[in-house]
Point group: C2
Chain length 359, copies 2
């Protein structure tokens, strides 16, 4: 009267990037205990219905089945940090199947991109790089007067999620002081925990790094935060109607208020979305010297047109929305699937779950 | 029968760099309780004898009095990390007066220079910078395949002094694993402490960051360390006859040994002196791909001639011996003098002392 073994899960992984053979092999090994199909798809290409129909777990960026091909589907995991791009999908909307996100995997790469930009700016890397191209041992640059370091600098992190937490961790190690800002209040130690996926050895799992926590969705709360005399402001809030043009002329003026920090030249880092800033006001604040500099991985619009004045605004460093990109991306995202398979086997709740009833 | 008040100390600060008025004023305030003379001198210029004769405490880089002008001198503090450049000075050689060094102040700037170079290399900053110059939103670069982060990487620090410790601190925050190497054994927790000046909030004061400590001055000990499968090797040993050409073809081959770390492409950071490396072997190791890249703040010779092949060696980033330079330099060095004045007042031993009997 033994029970029949449970049917094995069938994980369908739809990849929009070409991965190395060794990485594909490592992925197969990671999911050796289940059926695993890896399907390479260019963005927008069609995945065969029969592949979808066999899948019990779908791992994808944008490719989702028609509802009639989702009969066996028990879980969808997306390679993106959020689900905004899938909000109109009928399967997500139905709320019947749990979705999990890749939130948490972006902490290390985007934190490294952020720190890199700060250091490049403060230590005049571009000067060093151009001199090397010319084979010039550059002792003309007054390095003693122009370079500075991050020790003692105050960094305010607007949106203290997994990315902000890893920036905080490295900032603290560099001798900086961290101020956290969240939409909702975090009055208790418990409320400050990071409950999502965390790359091991990184982040601020307990939320103990900030010297103070601030919160609110109203202008006056934000303004209070911007008036702390911050040397750095990191913008890592999601784009919502409330955060659109959150920062404009008034906010840049508050950041630059010398009464809180004489000689301040705040440096702005935007790793959120271009529209969170009033970009014309940003260009003005850079030109006027209100802002000392800015690192922007996001702009409005994207791609930024070649004739846009932002490219040549003073002291700005722009990258084409790639701060989170890297070789570790897919592996880390799949690690979340692996963790959830193991948690399911132990009867534990999923991590990074959105919607659905469990699976 | 009251005692006559002790004569006030007279601090003579000889500055070889032009400091801002506000910094000079801050220095005067820092030493408001003693006589304080700030004398601007270009390197090699002569300081008047009468100035030296009045000084009880001399703060200088290279300018020292003739012995007959040092009658009142009780302490010499140098702006440099070591005393190598003063080893033939009769006052130092006499051993009668304590000298203090600026060891410890270089941790933050040189650690930031190091981390900056790692991140610039791993996150392809130069590509981003060149694209911005061309106003190009660069989606042609396969960022997902070419960028990588530092999480899980193993860094070996050859010479675990104040600079190595701050590199370790930031490395750990980035999710890396740190291996320390020192000349002498450090078997006890006490022996691992940093007893010199530490910039507050930085470094590894207790020596708790490394996952393991290694030591020795013989080749086999070094070779064992280089065989740990390190992703990064940081060279921060002083130049001595023993460390001259410490790293050559044999050592680079050990670093690149794939049996310890498949797919390894070790990255070399030299913040010591150019002569610690066999530079021709370094160029070969970069060309052959044994080394994945190198950040060099020091070369042999300095300045590096314009026609030297090192400038164009693959994946090398060179700066003109300025990794420790920055606005904080003199202030931090003078902080050591301030601390020692206060320690003296309390009857405590000086920090960063070399020679002499106390003062």
């Amino acid at each position: 009267m033994g029970e029949a073994p449970l049917p094995r899960e069938h994980v369908l992984i739809i990849l929009n990037y070409k991965l190395s053979d060794s990485l594909v092999e490592a992925i197969r090994q990671k999911f050796a205990d289940v059926e695993c199909t890896i399907f390479p798809a260019t963005l927008g290409s069609k995945v065969p219905s029969e592949l979808f129909r066999k899948a019990t777990i779908l791992v994808t960026y944008v490719n989702l089945p028609e509802p009639e091909d989702a009969e066996n589907l028990k879980l969808v995991h997306t390679f993106s940090a959020g689900l905004d791009h899938l909000m109109n999908n009928p399967i997500l909307k139905s709320g019947l199947i749990p979705f999990t996100t890749s939130s948490g995997i972006h902490g290390p790469p985007i934190a490294e991109w952020t720190i890199m930009n700060w250091l490049v700016f403060a230590r005049n890397y571009n000067v060093m790089y151009e001199a090397q191209k010319q084979h010039k041992w550059d002792k003309d640059t007054p390095w003693m007067q122009t370079n500075y370091d991050q020790v003692g600098k105050k960094v305010g992190i607007l949106g203290y999620g997994s990315i902000g937490r890893q920036i905080a961790r490295v900032s603290q190690a560099m001798g900086m002081t961290v101020y956290a800002y969240t939409a909702s209040p975090r009055p208790t130690p418990e409320s400050r925990h990071d409950n999502g996926f965390i790359v091991p050895g990184t982040g601020d799992p307990e939320g103990t790094i900030p010297v103070s926590w601030h919160h609110g969705t109203d202008k006056s709360s934000i303004h209070e935060f911007l008036s702390l005399g911050l040397d750095h402001l990191v913008v890592s809030v999601p784009l919502t109607p409330q955060t659109t043009h959150l920062l404009g002329p008034e906010e840049f003026a508050l950041l630059a208020d010398k009464s809180k920090n004489p000689g301040i030249k705040p440096y702005l880092t935007n790793i959120s979305r271009g529209k969170v800033l009033d970009q014309d006001a940003l260009i003005e604040a850079l030109k006027s010297g209100q802002l000392g500099g800015a690192a922007l991985d996001v702009t409005n619009p994207e791609p930024l047109p070649a004739d846009h004045p932002l490219w040549d605004a003073p002291n700005v460093q722009i990258s084409p929305h790639v701060s989170g990109s890297g070789r570790e991306y897919f592996w880390r995202s799949l690690q979340i699937v692996r963790i959830n398979l193991d948690r399911k086997a132990k009867g534990l709740p999923l991590i990074n779950q959105y919607g659905g009833k469990g699976y």
